[in-house]
Assembly symmetry: C2
Homo-oligomer: 223 residues x 2
């Protein structure tokens, strides 16, 4: 028997809006009005409000009280914040996972790394981003740390939003594998310090490139 999954309307509305924002179907900076969204979603305005509040907490929407809601526009500074935070969280996750490596089933880690290698060989950029995220998700899950997991997801969502809205080119191929292998091996070996260090540093170059790219976009827009 298939369980009926109950999901209240405000949660469902937040899901739909989140998806539209993350895919850039609703562009960054867009005005969101409760009345219009309520009409489109077929819900009461109050329900939509609750959904919007949730998205504000995830950093995807900005509320100006008494005035309105809009999709967050992420600046180069935002990107820097997100990357530094992500790096720190990934380091924590890798270190904790490595500490527990001796007592855990590492199949999920191995599978995720295999998947990453597979898509890197195919040079499918969207799939690379997904597999990269999935690898880190697997590690965060191994850390057994719910708050870390929740926060990591929120940060990663916003990073995806950055990438989607800037049309940034994300590297692929062998370098992605090479960046991740030492971290995965340190986790397997139970070496928490190295795992944390590799996790912290593994994305530094790509992150800097994206931040620089966003700064250039901002300068062009200011002209």
């Amino acid at each position: 028997m298939i369980a009926i999954i109950k999901r209240s309307f405000d949660v469902q509305a937040a899901d739909v809006l989140r998806q539209q924002i993350l895919s850039a179907a609703i562009p960054a900076g867009s005005r969101l009005t409760e009345v219009r969204l309520a009409g489109e979603l077929g819900l009461s305005r109050a329900t939509v409000r609750t959904a919007l509040h949730q998205l504000v907490n995830e950093g995807l929407v900005v509320q100006v009280p008494y005035t309105g809601w809009e999709v967050a526009t992420l600046t180069a500074h935002d990107a820097w914040e997100l990357f530094t935070l992500r790096s720190s969280l990934e380091a924590l996750a890798a270190g904790l996972a490595a500490q527990r490596a001796g007592t855990l089933d590492l199949d999920a880690l191995d599978r995720a790394f295999e998947d990453l290698q597979t898509v890197c060989r195919r040079r499918n950029r969207a799939a690379i981003a997904d597999a990269d995220f999935a690898l880190h998700e697997a590690i965060v899950k191994l850390a057994g740390h719910g708050r870390l997991r929740a926060q990591y997801r929120i940060v990663e969502q916003q990073i995806r939003m950055c990438i989607a809205s800037s049309n940034a080119l994300i590297g692929g191929g062998q370098s992605i594998i090479d960046e991740h292998r030492p971290m995965v091996e340190a986790i397997r070996a139970g070496d928490a310090e190295s795992a944390a260090r590799f996790a912290r540093d593994h994305n530094a170059e790509a992150s800097d490139l994206l931040v620089t790219h966003l700064k250039r976009l901002e300068e062009q827009t200011a002209d």
Copy 2:
């Protein structure tokens, strides 16, 4: 002329409830009903609902959809999560602040550390916790990282809640000063790596003690 600060009722309600939860005036595990709170706060139930949603996002309240709301009960595992996360965020803040030390006014850091030393000499436990938090807040502010700041506050709130609800004894005196001095000096010196390392490690012993204490409490309750 004093500006009128507009603060919508749902935000004000969240403020009031947060304060009551953090001070343990409403104990952990307490059932919160919208009807009763609305009556007590003199607001509509929908407004209270919005406030409760916000507190859920801060980890202070747990919602069981269709069933109810209650003040979060933080377990030893929760405490472990909070301490590891806090440690990681403090390390990030200290490292970033140290990177910027050459271009910043470090007065706030110095003052906060002085204040900490002052209250440690007086052995006033509540004031020590406040001054400890204020020192880290000052560092987080120096890091110029809004998301880090917001997340740090949420984590720190929950830690206060842990401490308040467990009646744990928090150490004081010279050891607190000794734990913080190397981090503060590394920040002043612009040594990001040391600042991050000292920040990450400086609370390990106290954190472990509290987690162990909570585990013991849980075992007693299970008897």
